[in-house]
């Protein structure tokens, strides 16, 4: 960030915080985030903040910064462990894009480190039990909510809405995806009956959850949240594609599924399994979109290009899951 932007940011933060003497003492780009940039801000008075803003290209399916700020506030008020949201700036003239500022939280979210550790999050069982409790708090947020009106009308049938949305996404892609269609058709045939929709984080997985040695320090990345079936979050976390190679620990590669369910409360296992298949289809579709950003030239980037090559592996898993479920 250049000097002019930094000066504008300082002035803006002084007004937003009511601290006319506020000074930015340090500013560093944090790692991670294909869609967002996160800047660590060291602010006078020992304040440690994070500034979150958009990258050059953003996915059409993700919420903007103002929406993510509203979600963070709702989650914070509901007792979910999130970084406290502080200030929102919708004016792109300050730093070049809308941004918000939240309190900085200690810990690590790095997925490959998390799944290898027996101690992070207070140990494997304790950690996934705590994750279950976090999800239960998120799912206690129910529609209607005026501050979350941007989420749209809650679907009467979340599973049916998922299948329809994913088919619409496939119809927007350049090439047909028969294996993903195979998965979606199975999901349509086997969809469980509708449940009342709740707030679903929709990217609640290893890599988006910050941990220290004692427990969960922050649930991050709220940009995909929707009104849906609460089991969607449990299925996304447990999906094999999000265990980062540690397949034996079915809850995110971190700990046992039973402890997650125990921490959550009442869980309909068959419904979670439906959403695990759904998770593979959705992740494959997102991966296709990410590769498309590279292929189309919107954002030439090796990481995006390689993400496209994850799709065949996800398709293979979808075919195996459908085969096993049809054989029951």
């Amino acid at each position: 960030m250049d000097e002019a932007r930094r000066a504008r940011l300082t002035a803006w933060l002084r007004a937003a915080s009511g601290d006319a003497a506020l000074a930015i003492e340090g500013m560093a780009l944090l790692s991670g985030g294909a869609i967002q940039q996160n800047w660590a801000l060291d602010v006078s008075g020992g304040r440690a903040w994070v500034l979150r803003t958009d990258n050059a290209a953003t996915l059409a399916v993700s919420h903007g910064r103002a929406q993510e700020f509203a979600l963070l506030r709702a989650a914070h008020a509901a007792g979910v462990t999130v970084p406290e949201p502080l200030f929102l700036c919708g004016d792109a003239g300050v730093t070049g894009a809308p941004f918000f500022v939240m309190r900085r939280v200690a810990g690590t979210a790095a997925a490959h480190r998390v799944v290898r550790s027996d101690t992070l999050g207070g140990g494997r069982e304790a950690c996934v039990r705590a994750l279950g409790r976090e999800l239960a708090r998120i799912h206690a947020i129910t529609p209607p909510r005026a501050a979350l009106a941007f989420l749209g009308e809650p679907p009467a049938d979340p599973c049916g809405a998922f299948v329809a949305d994913q088919r619409a996404a496939l119809d927007r892609q350049r090439t047909p995806r028969p294996a993903l269609e195979w998965g979606l058709r199975h999901l349509e045939r086997t969809a469980p009956p509708p449940v009342p929709p709740v707030l679903v984080h929709n990217d609640f997985r290893t890599g988006n959850i910050m941990l220290d040695d004692h427990g969960v320090t922050a649930v991050l990345d709220w940009e995909f949240s929707v009104w849906s079936d609460p089991h969607a979050d449990l299925g996304w976390l447990c999906a094999k594609c999000w265990r980062f190679g540690n397949d034996a620990q079915e809850a995110g590669g971190i700990g046992p599924r039973a402890a997650l369910y125990d921490g959550y409360g009442q869980v309909e296992d068959a419904r979670v399994r439906w959403w695990e298949l759904a998770a593979h289809v959705r992740w494959a579709s997102i991966a296709v979109d990410q590769a498309e950003r590279h292929i189309s030239g919107v954002e030439r980037n090796l990481e995006l290009a390689l993400t496209g090559h994850m799709v065949p592996g996800l398709e293979w898993e979808i075919l195996r899951m459908v085969e096993a479920r049809d054989a029951r």
Binding site: L170, P176, P178, W182, L184, R185
Partner: protein, 111 residues
């Protein structure tokens, strides 16, 4: 026989060895992820260069082509219990196995 050897798969594999064994240890730790991504891209290209052609056979088995095949699946014309179910499932398996052989061999249980 007419092309100059070593052939592209050999060149790519050799370049990948240099990258991982000689360049990676000499680079700052902050560049390790980028190097591993480059190595992964080379590995995909190496496997693609070595894989026998499979698309013509798959397309010949797919009545009406990929769009029609995808649409028929969506309409339920290959659901379990239909006449074409087993054949469609086998075709999807063959296509996906071939795609994984290049892009994601680990998904097939291969390193």
């Amino acid at each position: 026989m007419l092309a100059e050897e070593p052939l592209p798969p050999d060149l790519l594999a050799t370049a990948r060895e240099v990258l991982l064994n000689e360049l990676l240890p000499a680079l700052p730790p902050g560049k390790a992820l980028a190097v591993r991504m480059v190595a992964n891209a080379i590995a995909i290209a190496t496997r693609a260069a070595a894989e026998p052609a499979w698309e013509d056979d798959a397309l010949a088995r797919m009545a009406g082509g990929p769009c029609a095949f995808a649409a028929a699946i969506r309409e339920g014309r290959f659901d379990p219990g239909t006449a074409g179910h087993a054949e469609a499932a086998a075709l999807l398996d063959d296509i996906t196995r071939a795609r994984c052989t290049v892009s994601a061999p680990r998904a097939l249980g291969k390193a």
